[in-house]
């Protein structure tokens, strides 16, 4: 999911697009002309490509094509990240997203006329896939901190950053968690008791700020006490 950011790139102002791609790379492109500025790997294992051409296009590795026997490829078909929304903090110049560590097995099905019809989770390392809330320095692509979402293994909900330095990071099985955007430290959590796959939102009514998230068929909305936090 692309995030549009205007900022300085190597001393010059640029209109950029930042994207943690499901292929395992964090891209920075010039959104006015598509110029490739940078790509950095953001998950532990990426093995589907041989390298890059001079325009910043990846060169796929044919050894990782799907096969009848099954080819292990990292990241998996589900991607190193997927639909959960990323978020950008302009004060800290940090980019946050849900990273999915793990590999997949891609199978070519000879019974049909098209390739790569099947995919499985790779059983490597016992835990096949694991979700993390991951913070990158937005312009170097370097990891700043990581928060492991225990028992979250597939896709999961999206993120929302706030001007107050709080990152809202719900988890797949119902924990609505708030993290310190700078350090990743847990500030607060609430168990909604059901699955969360949505992104949180924030809104204000008569000057009072709320944060809401959908869990299963319920909407949970949270606000600070009248008169401000004590």
């Amino acid at each position: 999911m692309p995030v549009l950011v205007d900022g300085m790139w190597k001393g010059k102002p640029r209109k950029m697009v930042l994207q943690a791609n499901r292929n395992g790379f964090y891209y920075i492109l010039d959104r006015t002309n598509g110029e490739f500025l940078q790509a950095t790997q953001f998950v532990k294992k990426v093995d589907w490509l041989k390298g890059w051409d001079d325009k910043g296009h990846p060169i796929p590795d044919p050894a990782h094509d799907p096969s009848v026997k099954g080819t292990t490829t990292c990241p998996s078909t589900a991607g190193a990240t997927n639909w959960p929304s990323p978020t950008y903090d302009p004060q800290l110049k940090m980019f946050y997203f849900v990273a999915q560590e793990g590999c997949g097995i891609n199978v070519r099905d000879t019974a049909r006329n098209y390739a790569g019809t099947g995919y499985l989770e790779s059983p490597e390392e016992g835990k096949s896939w694991q979700l993390f809330t991951r913070a990158l320095d937005a312009f170097t692509g370097k990891k700043v901190w990581d928060y492991e979402q225990v028992t979250s293994h597939h896709y999961g909900p999206g993120l929302m950053s706030s001007a107050g330095g709080v990152l809202f990071s719900p988890e797949e099985f119902g924990q609505f968690t708030a993290l310190d955007a700078k350090t990743g430290k847990v500030l607060w959590h609430f168990n909604t008791g059901d699955v969360i796959t949505a992104s949180p939102i924030s809104y204000a009514v008569n000057g009072r700020q709320y944060v809401a998230v959908v869990s299963s068929s319920n909407v949970f909305s949270f606000g600070l006490p009248e008169g401000g936090a004590k």
């Binding site: 016992g126 028992t151 968690t177 168990n191």
Partner: protein, 297 residues
């Protein structure tokens, strides 16, 4: 449970037309060889020489015929007499031939019992062996009762096995006793979607802040808490922030070398006991003709 299933089956059939409706009003004879392991074995070899060419080994589908025991598939013919009828008379309008005159009625019943066993769970075709001796091994040499419970006796650490033969296939029980990575066989035919995946409970060793060690099965966890069924048979509800360490052990608690720690006879006897833990199939119901009732076609 059985009643609920029967109602579910009726509702399922009510939703489909034609052949499936037959099943709801079927009051035909029950298979005289049902659950008779020796006859089912004979049925298997008859199936292999007569049916495998089209329907595949173990009813898993072949070149010309549909699979007879495919997980998740619904079948038009589910009762003993329906299966018998399809083998005896064939299925008109399809390549399925009639076996009448080629096989005796007894032979057809044996094939039907084998097919039913493929579709059903362990209780539909219990293993041969000394059941009483198997029960003694369960509580004694096998030490199964250290973790499992049957009929209110035993331990609450592992799954309750009182209905295991109604829930799992024989192969699945054998695999659980002998293989570290065992797969759960699907339900097949008559009981679609009934078998839930085998729950996998990792073993954890937890050290609390005050140095107490708890080892047990991790029943649930999230980023902030853990729920552990301890080997002390107590459920521990733990706050992650108050623990010194949580170690996830690579292996489960269930021993998977029963084929080595027991003799062949002991293993067979234990299996004979386990494959009878459950609600046996209901006895044949008498044919009742109800005036004005649904007509048989």
């Amino acid at each position: 449970m059985r009643v609920a299933l029967a109602i579910a089956a009726l509702l399922l059939m009510a939703g489909t037309a034609g052949a499936q409706r037959r099943a709801a009003v079927d009051n035909g004879p029950r298979n005289p060889f049902a659950t008779n392991q020796a006859a089912i074995e004979e049925g298997r070899s008859l199936y292999n020489s007569t049916c495998t060419g089209c329907h595949g080994a173990n009813g898993a589908a072949g070149e010309f015929g549909p699979g007879l025991a495919i997980p998740g598939r619904s079948y038009a013919r589910t009762t003993d007499s329906q299966i018998f009828d399809a083998i005896q008379h064939g299925i008109p309008g399809t390549p399925m031939p009639a076996q009448q005159g080629k096989l005796t009625d007894d032979q057809i019943w044996k094939i039907a019992a084998y097919v039913k066993g493929l579709r059903g769970t362990a209780i539909d075709a219990p293993s041969p062996g000394n059941v009483a001796n198997g029960e003694a091994i369960f509580w004694g040499k096998g030490q199964c009762g250290t973790c499992h419970m049957v009929g209110g006796r035993g331990s609450i650490i592992g799954p309750d096995l009182s209905q295991i033969a109604s829930l799992r296939k024989t192969n699945s029980i054998i695999d659980a006793l002998t293989k570290e990575q065992h797969r759960v066989y699907g339900p097949g035919g008559a009981q679609p979607h009934l078998l839930t995946p085998l729950p996998v409970w990792p073993v954890v060793r937890i050290t609390t802040a005050d140095g107490k060690v708890i080892r047990g099965l991790l029943r649930n966890e999230d980023s902030f808490s853990l729920q552990v069924m301890g080997l002390d048979q107590q459920l521990h509800l733990l706050d992650r922030s108050k623990l010194k360490s949580v170690v996830y052990e690579p292996k489960g608690l269930m021993p998977t070398d029963y084929d080595k720690r027991l003799s062949k006879t002991e293993f067979d006897d234990l299996l004979a006991y386990l494959t009878r833990l459950g609600t046996p199939p209901e006895p044949a119901s008498p044919v009742v003709k109800m005036p004005g009732g649904p007509e048989k076609d």
